[in-house]
């Protein structure tokens, strides 16, 4: 028992754990900052601390249980998750979306759990196959992705649903799917997204935003626009429009959030705002600053150097995660490690990108940092799985097959 524990602790990736705890702590401090400044949110930092403790417990659990056992349950987890995702659509919802399931004192967000279940399922599904090296073999993974993605999209939770595709891509890529297939699918999808469709305009309607053009044929007017624009909600179109015209729209209701976010980030300059009062007053002008826009607070409060520091901590997790993916020679473990890294990386990029105007604003948390218990617990559990994979590395004396160095 003692020896087991010793081995266990020796092969545990402590830098990842340290990085994780550092990010969580930083997140709590940042939430405290935004809470100080905004009278409409109080007690969020302390609540996040409780969530962090639960998340650490989830992390420990995820490291202790051998990941292969979880793998055997992957399809079960995935199925249950899908059922819950369907179930959540029948809840009352709040703020116009149905994302939460009330569980006593807390609300759980099944879409967060779905991300983890999806990685497990996909890694389990892909582990001993090679049919995805043919175009036809890609159909099943794509279908398995589109189903949870669609359910999350209906909630609606555009941000979370956008995570599934990059994660799938990274995992397929690492599993060895042919690059030309993957790129081909991207090309076809892009073409489909930009495909012009014609939509008849109601009498007297204005030119729809972002339309390619408006054609008048006889008495009727038709708008020519990209296919998704024809079906997207008004506010979603507005977000894209805001993103594409940031300077023009920064004083509108919709563009204001992005404008404020960029302003706060910029005002951080090299070292951060320094003057607590100024930051405090200004941070309250940014809605959702404790959740989706926490990165703006961090950039405003700690400046460019702080941002570099935070990116470096994420970098540690990604590099060490990839190292684990290299060291382990279990196919399921490899894909699981890649999936966790891809998941965290996608979240980071989408979130940070949207606060800086590099991507349209979608609801997306900054992993391990943003306020939100479900997100925190799931991301910690995901890291737990990563560490788990690392702990169960093969004890080999000879070099691993096909590998000539460990640089990776």
């Amino acid at each position: 028992m003692k020896d087991t524990l010793k081995t266990y602790l020796r092969y545990t990736s402590w830098p990842i754990i340290l990085a994780m705890i550092a990010l969580m702590t930083w997140g709590i401090v940042a939430i405290r900052v935004s809470e100080q400044s905004d009278p409409s949110i109080t007690g969020f930092a302390s609540k996040q601390m409780v969530s962090a403790l639960i998340a650490l417990a989830a992390f420990v659990v995820a490291t202790v249980v051998p990941y292969h056992r979880l793998g055997r349950l992957a399809y079960f987890f995935f199925g249950v998750t899908l059922i819950v995702l369907v179930g959540v659509l029948f809840t009352e919802g709040s703020k116009g979306s149905r994302r939460w399931i009330p569980l006593g004192p807390i609300d759980a967000q099944p879409s967060e759990v779905a991300k983890l279940a999806f990685i497990l399922m996909l890694a389990w599904y892909l582990r001993y196959r090679d049919n995805y090296r043919r175009l036809g073999g890609l159909v099943v993974p794509f279908v398995l992705t589109v189903v949870p993605m669609g359910l999350v999209l209906i909630e609606p939770d555009l941000g979370t649903s956008l995570l599934f595709l990059p994660t799938l891509y990274f995992m397929l890529f690492m599993a060895g799917a042919k690059l030309r297939h993957l790129l081909g699918i991207v090309a076809v999808a892009t073409a489909l997204v930009l495909l012009p469709v014609v939509k008849k305009l109601p009498e007297g309607a204005a030119r729809p935003p972002l339309a390619y053009g408006v054609v008048t044929i006889g008495p009727a007017r038709y708008a020519v626009l990209a296919a998704p624009l024809a079906v997207m909600n008004g506010y979603q179109v507005t977000r894209v429009e805001v993103w594409l015209n940031q300077e023009k729209t920064k004083s509108t209701d919709q563009g204001r959030q992005l404008g404020q976010s960029k302003m706060i980030i910029g005002a951080g300059r090299l070292m951060g705002t320094g003057d607590w009062n100024d930051g405090e007053v200004y941070f309250q002008m940014l809605p959702e600053d404790h959740t989706d826009f926490i990165f703006s607070i961090i950039a405003g409060q700690w400046g460019f150097l702080g941002c570099l520091g935070m990116l470096a901590i994420y970098g540690v997790i990604f590099v060490l995660g990839m190292e684990i993916a290299v060291i382990t020679n279990d196919p399921f473990g490899r894909l699981l490690a890649v999936g966790v890294v891809a998941l965290l990386f996608s979240q980071l990029v989408i979130n940070v990108g949207m606060t800086m105007g590099l991507a349209p604003v979608t609801g997306m948390t900054l992993p391990l940092v943003s306020y939100g218990g479900s997100s925190l617990v799931v991301n910690c559990a995901a890291l737990g799985l990563l560490v788990n994979v690392g702990q169960r590395r093969p004890v080999l004396l000879a070099p691993k097959p096909f590998e000539h160095d460990r640089e990776g």
Binding site: G266, R269, D278, V341, L358
Partner: protein, 696 residues
Amino acid sequence: MYNQRIKIFLAIIGVVFLVVIARLWYLQLVLGADYRAEITQKLQRDDMLPAGRGHIMDRHGAILACDEPCFDLCLDYRQLFLWVNGDPNNPSADPNHPFAAQARSWRRRQINAIRRSLRPAGDPASMDLALTQASEIYSRRERNTRKLLQDYAGADLDEVCRRIYNRVEALRGPLGRRSPIEQTQRHVIVSGLDDAAAVAVKSQMYDLVGLDVRPSFKRRYPYRNLACHIIGYTGKVSDKEPNAYNLRLDQADELTCEMINYGPEDTIGKAGVERLCEGLPLRRLDGNEQAPWLNDASLAEIDTHLGLRGRRGMLKRHRLTGATFEEIPAVQGQDVHLTLDIMLQDDLTQLFPPGVTGSIVVLSVPRGEVLAMVSVPTYDLNNFRQEYAQLVKDETYFPLRHRAVSQLYPPGSTAKPVVALAGLGSGVITTDYTRDCTGYLFSNVTNAWRCWTVASGMPGHGPLNVTGALKNSCNVFFYHLGELLGAGRMPAWFEMFGFNSPPGTGLPEERAGRYPDKPDDGACRLMGIGQGKLQITPLHVANAMATIARGGEFRSPILMLEGAGHAQVSQRLPLTEAQVAAVKRGMWEVCNESGGTAYKVFHGDFDPLGVEVCGKTGTADIQALKNNDGVDRTGNMAWFSGFAPADNPQIAIAVVIEYVEGHGATYAGPAAREAIRACIQRGYVTAKDQGPGNRE
């Protein structure tokens, strides 16, 4: 292959990180200073500090107009904006208005503040509940505020709000400011609340929103209706005035604009001295010409040119801590000292019995100062706003008209001394020139160039020189003289006496006299006796008298002891001492020699004045005034003009009594005598050197 793909994956992560870092570098290190400045600006709250309006005082320091403390009800522009822009009846409402987001954000902050007060700290669970409650409380406060304002402002509330809205929105524009300071200020909705009303509102403040009770000033006029036309009145700037007076951003920096430009609810002088001495600005009334020094003038420079209005100040404070970043103190408006003596003005006003209208002007001869300038009827400046509708409708007595400077009258025979001097000065007659008055110029036909004696059934005056013609006010002599002067000389001489331009005190109501540039012989003859096409104001007449009294030195009358309106034009007319003396002698005989037209005015059964007066009576024909209200005004304009004392002139006077059935000597003469008596009592005329034959 797997390891290679790991490398590619890490490379992708690296590239994406580089993109993110590049963006951060751009936002934080390249644009950072701009963003920081933008935030600092948003953290700063600017409050306008109002400047009190200066006092208007008479020559002895009696206060004619002053600011009296009162309270204003002011509403935050963002609340006002939400009302006006959200009003479905407002055709210009625009949900996509650039300011709408900011106004809504302001409302959100109000609700959040309520929410914080509702919710015990550290209880996020009740957040949504608190939001609903807070929104309800906010709506209730909004309703209360609206109702309260309606109670005070009456039915015009919507109109007042819309007017403020339109004016503030007008400040946004290609030449205006992107976010004018007015959009975060509170604007006066109701003004002039007394203490009791202010306390009543303050006691309800806890249940109101966006409202402020602010100390303010109300203009008060202690002498009520005395000199009302001279003092004038103030009012809210009209829609056009700011455009005419305000500096544009291409003319001055933003701070200067904010300090001196007129805001939507600012007070501006509308008439009289209140307008004349308004001070800056800014542009001349007539054109759009900008005083050139104002372009890019510094605030200190501007402060030296302030008038009654003064300049507002600004307090720049931290939005949260209230710490003062910078304070630019307001500059109180300059006091204005008039040459007027309000007590003399009072004496002279009382000379008009009820129902009698007219004007009296008294000038000091040596300096040309206006000592009193009465125009009757008057109105009470303190109730002016309430009575305005009625005053402006009165087209029988025209109480708003400043008769002394803006009513053009035919001067009648009071013009004869001027015509006489024109004749002497231009050389068409000499002091020895004699004309035989047969009673008529051409033939004795009714109303055809006859002398007034003939019309009264008396014979003509016989041979008269210029002195005798003045004494007897002989029409035939002056018909003839007018004809001799002709179109070549008469207008030029009227111009020398200042009849062609406004009298020159600077009062905005002043009007220039009117006469043809090239009159024909008939017109010249008629203008020779002050009739026909010659029309001037009482101030013109009084000033002509002062010019004669000074021995032929023209000075434009002045109303200010210093400052605006103080500039005086003076000019020596081409007259010899003997010529002026002959005219003065004629005017002396009018009053002091038996047979003079005003002899009986100054010699009769009353307290003697104690000084000798030189004067000239006048009886001007005028068309009857008929209007719709059934009161017709008919008769003559009775004139008396002159100066006193005869040997050492100190005051010049012109009196006109409107629409009387009789002569100048009967009506205007006694009024002038009593006016001169008042001047003596007030010390403006000192009796010395009383010559023989002065007393009866």
